[in-house]
Amino acid sequence: MSELTDLTLAEARDGLKAKKFTSAELTDAHIDAVEAARGLNAYILETPEKAREMAFASDVKLAKGEGGALEGIPLGIKDLFATEGFRTTACSRILGDFIPTYESTVTTQLWRDGAVMLGKLNNDEFAMGSSNETSAYGAVANPWLAGNTDKVTAKSALSDLATAGGAGVLVPGGSSGGSSSAVAARLCLGATGTDTGGSIRQPAAFTGIVGIKPTYGRCSRWGIVAFASSLDQAGPFARTVKDTAILLRSMAGHDPKDSTSVNVPVPDYEVAVGRSVKGLRIGVPKEYRVEGMPAEIEKLWHQGAEWLKAAGAEIVEISLPHTKYALPAYYIVAPAEASSNLARYDGVRYGARVPGKDITAMYENTRAAGFGSEVKRRIMIGTYVLSAGYYDAYYVRAQKVRTLIKRDFDNVFAAGVDAVLTPTTPSAAFAIGSKASTDPVEMYLNDIFTVTVNMAGLPGISVPAGMSSENLPLGLQLIGRPFDEETLFALGAAIESSAGSLPKAEKWW
């Protein structure tokens, strides 16, 4: 038998059904892999006992020929999702050792369908970051190394991730860096992520896996630690398009506890994988051809379009004229909402508390010690743009820009475009520490191709499409109509099969 951890989620599911192996075996193989990969720092909480317990329960069902769509499948969970009885911190010191008494809707649905929890995955603090370097639990290593990196040196550098960039260790992207690293390193068959400005798609691209941010309102936000409520959306990571389709079907659905979740039926996404893309119209937006874009990204993008054309799709150049305003507007809207969403972390009811001489001092001490610098920066930006006298100039204008961005997409969809093809990121993964200490805007630019999708509330998928000159994975992004994730799965699968067998991250950790 090949390594159980090398299976795709769909293969594992079918193997379990065919009783080729048990969930206990599959889960143990992953638990072992997780333990052996601690240097990557993808998991910040391992829950092997819970995993074995769940796997046992799944095996009982599987033995009887019963079980849900994910019966016995081991998954990792981003630390933004509240997990009942298991520490949930959003990787912030301010939540301390917070253990929720409730389970997020998305994870509840995963467990309902039989999935097994391996543990909680690292992420940027409160999902604010594009490299997973703002986590209170430290940076995460990308299982990919640039072609010329010495593996032995890289492995020894894992003992101090903060400086591991010097040895060529790369970031896994962010904010869902633990999720992308874990899936790419085969430490789980799939993982949950959240995406506010690219936090699923960018890490998926950086680690050579698939990640989809569904339409805003597709998955419930209930029980997910909020960053920016109008942009946050949960989605899955896995190693194939089909695997993400299987996961999303379980994660999605209307939730009366989330007023912004939408009551539309959840289709069987797996059916859409492999569906013909013949006759689909794919828009290639000229505004995404940004200055200084590496030639290899440009080439990959062109290649993607050629593949889809070969598969029968029609490629059209389109214009999304307000694209250039998306990033600045995003960095007003998201921090504004975050500044308010994070007000509840005040040391009064739960999480960390640092005493002070009076209530104001307690607040100040607690929040000064509890939040990291990126979170503080965004709270300050958000507070500023909502302040009297600045609100109209910043927040209101950013909302107008948001409307225009949405209209750009509405127009192209109305003109018959079925999906938009873009690169996911302007570059391949970079070394730990190489951007974190420079101008924060440098880091923010990572999200330049992904934030528009959140601003417009649309679904977006990142699919691995090729390798960079340094043999690092690169991804292409497909953006769809609202609630038309199916078309994205169909197109994503077309790219996936056209790209052929891309290399896997070889174990060096």
Binding site: A90, P100, K257, S259, S339, D346
Partner: protein
């Protein structure tokens, strides 16, 4: 924006040392919505539970929790809007009002800032000098905060979140009130309307109705002066006292050549004073913005019409009907409609009977007695049926008005059916002319000189009636006594 709506009334001016001053009052009433659950969570709103028992994960602002609107609270707000004849906004928006306080778990209050659910309306006050229309600026829904308790421990404060997230209606008046009397009448009237609608119990002792009172003064005809806001006044009496004090304080400052600082003040009932709480400079920047966890509130098609149809008769309409249908005076009608329970009680008594007589007995005898003994109409020892029975006995001449009062006393203390009591205790009015005639003859015979005087002085008749009534133990029909005396004494 403040819009001038009323000309100065010389009778309402306050005399200062150097000039007459007009006081301008606007009010923000916070009325707790009558509902089983909170505005955005399923937690109970039951009063008097142990601290922190009515707290859901949402109310405690646990990570990842989201608000979901309680539709009954929305309906209550619409009903209230209809009750104050206001414009109902089909589309409204919930905003976040951001500030830090331990009893505000989210770090923001969900309120409605730019787009409230209810717009302009009015409340009509019946003042001694006539009707006064007070404009309503808006009504919006918002969350109440929890309670901080500072007197339980020398070093710590405690927080009770039972109230946190309970639905409030903030009802904002225009600056149309011109005296403390009007302010008190306004709160009283608004409370009456809310109680009729069943949208707020108006219980000020429990804090279910609180007022922020904005007060400024000016010389008649001058532009509005700088206002001070007196926060959280929790009784109608205190509202009056606070306004009186605050108006005089401001007049004093202005007459001494000073200027009013725009500030928030607190009323201290023990001293009868207002004192500064925070100045305009210390005012919070609440950083309002639309709550991204909630979609804008779009009322379902037809909801407003449906609620309009179900609306109960409101005090103004009831008052008009009582006057028209029962011939009541405006004053009596006012007294009766002030509480829906009183009005209902009256109607039970008055139906099929003499409305004026019924109003007299309900207001003067029953309410007088209830007040004296600390009862309200719901706990009245005399039921509407009993009082109606008593009135029937007066009306058909079975008992006299005087006996009726004795009978009322018996029913009040002992209970029972008035008719049976009258039978059993021989309280029936004597209408037997023979018996009355005998008594009349006896009195005339015993007082020949007075009988002679009465011929020239008809006023003496009253004395004779009194004597006859006395000798018959009050049971003689006074009309019959009077008729007989007139005939026998030869008085017209």
């Amino acid at each position: 924006m403040l819009v001038e709506t009323r000309p100065a009334d010389p009778k309402k001016l306050i005399k200062g040392a150097t000039a007459d001053w007009e006081v301008i009052i606007g009010m923000e009433i916070h009325a707790q919505v009558t509902s089983e659950a909170k505005l955005f969570s399923g937690a109970s709103t039951e009063f008097g539970r142990p601290p922190n028992s009515n707290v859901s994960l949402v109310d405690a602002a646990m990570p990842g929790m989201l608000p979901v609107i309680n539709e009954e609270c929305v309906r209550q707000a619409v009903r209230t809007g209809l009750g104050i004849k206001a414009e109902i906004h089909q589309h409204s928006v919930f905003d976040r009002k951001n500030y830090f306080y331990p009893d505000l778990p989210q770090g923001y209050q969900i309120s409605q800032y730019k787009s409230p659910i209810v717009g302009e309306g009015e409340v009509v006050l019946d003042m001694p000098e006539g009707q006064v229309k007070i404009g309503i600026e808006r009504l919006h829904l918002e969350q109440d905060a929890g309670k901080s308790i500072h007197d339980q421990d020398p070093n710590n404060s405690f927080v009770d979140l039972n109230r946190s997230g309970v639905a409030l209606m903030e009802i904002v008046s225009k600056p149309d009130l011109r005296s403390s009397d009007e302010a008190r009448a306004y709160v009283t009237k608004l409370r009456t309307i809310l109680r009729y609608l069943g949208t707020c119990d108006g219980d000020m002792e429990k804090g279910n109705l609180r007022a922020d009172v904005n007060v400024s003064v000016r010389k008649p005809g001058a532009p509005f002066g700088t206002r001070c806001e007196i926060k959280n006044v929790n009784s109608i009496r205190f509202i009056g006292q606070a306004i009186e004090y605050e108006a005089r304080r401001q007049i004093g400052i202005l007459e001494d050549g000073g200027a009013i600082d725009q500030e928030t003040r607190l009323f201290d009932p023990s001293k009868g004073e207002t004192r500064s709480m925070r100045s305009k400079e210390e005012a919070h920047d609440y950083r309002y913005f639309p709550d991204p966890d909630l979609l804008p509130l779009d009322l379902p098609e037809g909801l407003v019409d449906e609620l309009k149809k179900e609306l109960p008769e409101l005090p103004d309409e009831k008052k008009a009907r009582f006057q028209a249908e029962y011939g009541l005076s405006a004053y009596d009608a006012d007294v009766l409609v002030a509480e829906k329970a009183s009005a209902d009680f009256f109607e039970q008594v008055a139906t099929g009977r003499d409305g004026k007589l019924a109003a007299n007995w309900v207001i003067n005898e029953l309410f007088g007695r209830l007040n004296k003994e600390g009862h309200d109409v719901q706990t009245s020892p005399v039921s509407a049926g009993q009082l109606g029975g008593l009135i029937d006995l007066i009306k058909d001449g079975t008992i006299s008005g005087k006996i009726a009062k004795d009978l009322f006393e018996i029913v009040w203390t002992e209970g029972g059916d008035p008719k049976e009591i009258v039978e059993a205790r021989g309280l029936k009015q004597v209408t037997d002319t023979g018996a009355i005639e005998k008594a009349v003859d006896e009195i005339i015979a015993a007082n020949p000189d007075k009988a002679e005087q009465a011929k020239g002085k008809p006023g003496m008749l009253g004395w004779f009636v009194g004597q006859v009534m006395k000798s018959t133990g009050g049971k003689a029909n006074p009309q019959a006594v009077s008729d007989l005396l007139k005939a026998k004494l030869g008085v017209e």
